[in-house]
Amino acid sequence: MYLLAIDWWLILEKFILVGAVVTLCLFVAMYSTYAERKIAAFMQDRIGPNRAGPWGILQPLADGGKLFFKEEIIPLASSRFLFILGPALAMITATLTSAVIPWSTPLYLFGREVHMQVADIDIGILYIFGIVSLGVYGIMIGGWASNNKFSLIASIRGASQMISYELAMGLALIALLFMTGSLKMSVIVQNQIENGWHVIYQPLGFLLFFICALAECNRTPFDLPEAENELNFGYHQEYSSMKLGFYLFAEYINMFISGVVMATLFFGGYDIPFVEEAGWGLHPNWLSVIGFVVLLAKSFFFVFVFIWIRWTIPRFRYDQLMNLGWKKLIPLAILNMIVTAVVILLLNK
């Protein structure tokens, strides 16, 4: 009898939602590689891949197929368990962060209210931070298991960089929390729908968060861990075939999720700007779909800015990177926090 008391429909819809979200992440990561190559080419006055399918649309499939067919090499001197664990951990942490993001307003299907958020937990943002901290392990294990001086140095640099920039990111978020009063992601989005987007109230916070997100994703100008011309190939040098594919995909998924998180925290999530869309008279399911598309558009814009910055700026030197993280961003974040707190107290919100 206990079995009948469990809400099986809820479990089914959560499963489907998880599957859909992970598929979306993978699909977007695949086409992020295509977008990166095309945008990089256009910025360099050339056309990118245009042979695989019209305008090269099928190029990511060709890349995936190429990675599958390559030979799986595991160095003899490496620890086999750790070698396989590294990319697996990177991919797991990259996809886990997508669980708490509110993708849209609830859908109404088959007489049920389906929330477009896999888990609306009370510690929403903190969960994302925890998972991102675990992502450091993926890089460190990868570098250590390769049994290679260059990989080790690269992974140490990567780990220290990620740890330092997490601090500034967290401090920038605390100022945001002063305003919203809750860590739940759905409450944050609701707050933005009622009071206006957080980027207007926290421009410095957004800038800090953006820079730290660049550092967390190991993107230029912070891409020392995978500097192609400095450290051979960094921590994923020894990897081939699908393990390398996992590392690269995990990086692109991280990029996409960072874009989505920034859109959710600072740019209103699934909210359409300047429009009172509840008054349009559309069925709530349509509004939900439109909200989802708007969120995707915002995150794609952020991914575009990530790619744009990558192909503009040269890489930071390691000491400049650490300098920036500890001596410039953390004081700025603390200053941001103090100013926000003072303003809130004065306005007595």
Partner: protein, 186 residues
């Protein structure tokens, strides 16, 4: 000193706006963004090709005269001149019924050019006394095996102007239009 156009390098220390680096980064990003909308420098081969110069040295072609007879007499001067030793040939004697096929009494029964050895220098074209071999504008295509790169006489011979005039004119290309190049050699 030499001209008055030398400008001193701007070595002023950075002001506080520049020290932030954000402004310079944004200026750089504006430049890369403007490049998104410029004309691309790519030539989409093989749909578009670059115009090759008139003296471009490509694949070999064995020539015929106006009556369709092969010009090559297997004298071996091209093979001797070739610095890469890419040309080999075997001579044969013209039989009484074959006057419409070959110009002189000696002709090349086998004429092979190894394109992997060939360096496309054109010395064979310069050495030939009969205006029989010249380098066309065709770029040597790629192949999956080494055997495909050894071009036999049938691959190299130009089409017969009597039986296939259009193909002959097409294969002659620019050489047919310039009467200076068709020397009347014996």
């Amino acid at each position: 000193m030499l001209t008055q156009r030398a400008q001193p390098v701007d070595r002023r220390p950075m002001n506080w706006v520049e020290k932030l680096y954000l402004w310079n980064i944004l200026k750089g990003m504006a430049i890369t963004f403007s490049h998104l909308f410029r004309r691309k420098a790519t030539i989409k081969y093989p749909e578009e090709t670059r115009p090759l110069p008139a003296v471009f040295r490509g694949l070999h072609v064995l020539n015929r005269d106006e009556q369709g007879r092969e010009r090559c007499t297997a004298c071996g001067l091209c093979a001797l001149a070739c610095p890469a030793e890419a040309i080999t040939m075997e001579a044969a004697e013209r039989q009484p019924g074959e006057e419409h096929l070959y110009r002189e009494e000696k002709y090349a029964a086998k004429y092979e050019v190894n394109m992997l050895r060939c360096i496309f220098c054109g010395l064979c074209e310069e050495a030939c006394p009969k205006d029989a071999v010249y380098l066309s504008k065709t770029i040597a295509p790629s192949n999956y095996s080494r055997k495909g790169f050894i071009y036999k006489k049938e691959d190299l011979l130009i089409p017969n102007p009597i039986t296939e005039p259009e193909a002959y004119q097409k294969a002659l290309g620019e050489r047919g239009m310039n009467s200076n190049q068709t020397r009347q050699k014996e």
